[in-house]
Symmetry: C2
Subunit: 335 residues, 2 copies
DNA sequence: TTGTAGGCGTTATCAT
DNA sequence: ATGATAACGCCTACAA
C-alpha cells in the first residue's frame, strides 16, 4: 500500500498540488467547485497530510506543550485534561511534561518543547526559585502560579476566598478561622488577602470578627493539624466556621473536627477551596469555592492560538471563582 | 539570529553534513576525533536538530501517544506521568488524549495520533463496546483493560487480590467480605476470581470461610453502601474483614463502618486495591494492594520503542501487585 | 483563480 | 570513514 500523498490527490482530482494544498489550508481563493472535488478525492483516498512535512515548511506544528509540577495533583490533571479538550477543538494536540517542581528539569522540558517547535507553551512554574529564560518568539502563558513579567492566567484567588468567607458571614458566623497555605506561595498569600479583606469589611462596627489564622501546607494532614490547632480551645473562643485554603486541607479539618466530637455543620461550618472531585465525595459533601479550571485552560489555549490577546505582562487575567454549596455549612448555633 | 542548521555545524567543524548527521545519530563509523570535534561545535553553536525535518526523512517522530478514558482518575494520571518519565529517558515525548470512555472519540484520537506519525500508542480502551480497528504497522499496547487479540499489559489483579485476602486470612480472619466491581468490567471480574481463589483455598477443611460478596461501582459512594450492606447484620455473622476492589470503595467502606460505630481495625479490618495516593491520607492509613503502575508504564514504553518484545496477542503480560501495609488491618477480636 | 517549481533541514545512498 | 547529493512531502512565492 504505497503511501498516498498530495500529488496523488492532485492527479486524481485533475488539479495541481498547489490547489490541493490550498484546499487543505482553507485558503480563500479556491473555487467552491474545485474545493468540493478535492475534498471528495481526499476522502476517497483517505489522504492524511504529513504533519512533519507540513510543520517543516510552515513552521507550525499544531502542537502545544504543557509543563506542570505534578500530574498527580488533581488540580493539574484537570487542567491538562481541559487543555487537551480545548486544543482538540482547534485541531491541536498536547504534549505533557512534568517538572516535579524541579527548576532544572523544568528548563530542560521547556528546551525540548522549543526544539519540537511547539506553537506555544502552557506553564505552571515550579516552586523552585528560578528565573525563567524563554526562547523569544515562542508564545507562553503562565498559569496558576503567576510570575511577574510574564503574561499569565489564574483564578481570582483573592476574590474567591472573599466570596467564600462572605458566605459564612452571611450565614451569621463571626469567629471564622482560616487555614492558610504555605507563606512563600503566591496563590496562598492571595487567598489570605481575600480572607483579610472579608474580615476587615465585616468588622466595621462589629467587634467579634477577629482573624484567626493557622498556617499549613496544602495537604490533608496539614489541614488536619491546623484544624486541631484552631479548634483546641474553649467553646466560646473556638471558631464557628473555618475556611481552608484547599479542599484537601478542608477535608483534613473535617477529620479533626470529627475526632474532637464537633458535629459538622451543626457546631462548625467548613468551606474549602479548589473544587476538586474529591470534595463531593466526602460526607457531608464539602462546600467549596470552585476554581474555573476549564476556563483557565480554554483561555490559555485560545491565547496561544492567537485567537485572543495575551494579558498584559504585569496584569494577569484573573478568572472568577464561584461557590459550590455542599453540606458543610449552616448558620452558627447560639453560644 | 539566523537559525543554526546542520550545515552551519558542518562548515564550522570542517566536515560534511553527512558526518554531522552520523554524529547526531550515534552512527558507529565516525572517528572519535571527528565525533568530538563535531560535538564541540554543536555545543558551541547551541545547535538543536529540527524534529520535523528529522521525522520527515527518517519516519521516526520520537513521539508516543497515550489515550486514556479520564485523566482525572488518579490511576490514569499516575500512569501518564510514569509514561512521560519513562519516555523522557529515551528522548521521547508524550501526547496525551482523553477518550471520556467514548468509543467514537477514542477512534478519532487514535486517528489523529496515526496521522501524527507517533511511533507507538499506549491505549486504555474505553468501556464502550467496540471493535478497535488499528492502522497496521503502528505498534500499540493495550494497558489495564485488556482486549483479546491485542498485546497488553496489566497488573495481575487476580493474584493481587489473592495476596490481599491471604493477608487477612493469615491474620486469622475467616468471615471476609468482598466488595466487587461492576460485573461487566474485566479487571473487576479478575479481582473477584482472586478473592474466590483465596477463599476456596482457605475453606479446605474449614467451614467458616464462606464468601460474602457485595457488588458495587468502583467509587466512594458505592463502596459506602456496599459496606453498609455487608456490615448490617448481627455481630457474629458480620465479616471481621472486608476486601474492597478499589481504594475509593475501601474509603467509602471505612466511612460506613465509622458511622455504624465499628472501630477500625479493632473490630473490622479493611484492605483496598490500587494504591492511589489518597490511600495514605486517610486515618487510619489504608492497607491496600498496590498496582505496579510505574512498571506498567515503563514496560509499555520500552515495548513501543522496540527495546523489549511485545507480549503474545493472547497472553498479556501481568505484573505483580504488592501489599502496602497501612493501619486498617489487625487480627480479629474474639467473638 | 490556478499551476509551476524551489526549497524547508535532515537522512540515506552512493561514490570516493 | 567521509563527502556529495538526491530524496522526504508539503507550502508558497511567482508566474500565467
Amino acid at each position: 500500500m504505497p503511501k498516498v500523498g498530495i500529488r496523488d490527490v492532485a492527479k486524481l482530482a485533475g488539479v495541481s498540488t498547489g490547489t490541493v494544498s490550498r484546499v487543505l489550508n482553507d485558503h480563500p481563493s479556491v473555487t467552491d467547485e474545485l474545493r468540493a472535488r478535492v475534498r471528495g478525492v481526499i476522502e476517497e483516498l483517505g489522504y492524511m497530510p504529513d504533519p512533519s512535512a507540513r510543520s517543516m515548511r510552515s513552521k507550525v506544528s499544531r502542537l502545544i506543550g504543557i509543563v506542570i509540577p505534578d500530574l498527580t495533583n488533581p488540580f493539574f490533571s484537570e487542567l491538562v485534561q481541559s487543555a487537551e479538550q480545548a486544543a482538540a477543538g482547534h485541531g491541536y494536540n498536547i504534549i505533557v511534561m512534568t517538572s516535579f517542581d524541579h527548576a532544572a528539569k523544568e528548563a530542560d522540558r521547556i528546551g525540548q518543547l522549543t526544539s519540537r517547535k511547539v506553537d506555544g507553551i502552557i506553564l505552571v512554574p515550579s516552586n523552585d526559585f528560578h528565573t525563567l529564560k524563554l526562547p523569544k518568539g515562542l508564545p507562553i502563558v503562565i498559569v496558576d502560579r503567576l510570575l511577574p513579567g510574564y503574561s499569565g492566567i489564574a483564578s481570582d484567588h483573592r476574590n474567591g476566598v472573599r466570596i467564600g468567607v462572605e458566605h459564612l458571614l452571611k450565614l451569621g458566623h463571626r469567629r471564622i478561622g482560616f487555614i492558610s497555605g504555605p507563606k512563600d506561595s503566591v496563590p496562598a498569600s492571595d487567598r489570605l488577602k481575600g480572607y483579610l479583606d472579608a474580615m476587615k469589611f465585616a468588622s466595621r462596627g462589629e467587634q467579634n470578627a477577629l482573624p484567626l489564622i493557622a498556617e499549613a501546607a496544602f495537604d490533608y494532614e496539614s489541614g488536619r493539624s491546623a484544624g486541631n490547632y484552631l479548634l483546641a480551645r474553649a467553646r466560646h473562643e473556638r471558631p464557628t466556621a473555618i475556611f481552608a485554603s484547599s479542599d484537601q486541607q478542608a477535608i483534613g479539618c473535617m477529620r479533626a473536627a470529627h475526632d474532637l466530637g464537633i458535629p459538622i455543620p451543626a457546631a462548625l461550618s467548613i468551606v474549602g477551596f479548589d473544587g476538586i472531585p474529591l470534595a463531593s465525595m466526602t460526607t457531608p459533601r464539602l462546600t467549596t469555592v470552585k476554581q474555573p479550571i476549564r476556563e483557565i485552560a480554554a483561555t490559555a489555549v485560545t491565547i496561544l492560538l492567537g485567537k485572543q490577546d495575551a494579558p498584559d505582562l504585569d496584569k494577569p487575567l484573573l478568572l472568577a471563582c464561584e461557590i459550590s454549596e455542599g453540606e458543610t455549612t449552616s448558620s452558627p448555633q447560639p453560644d
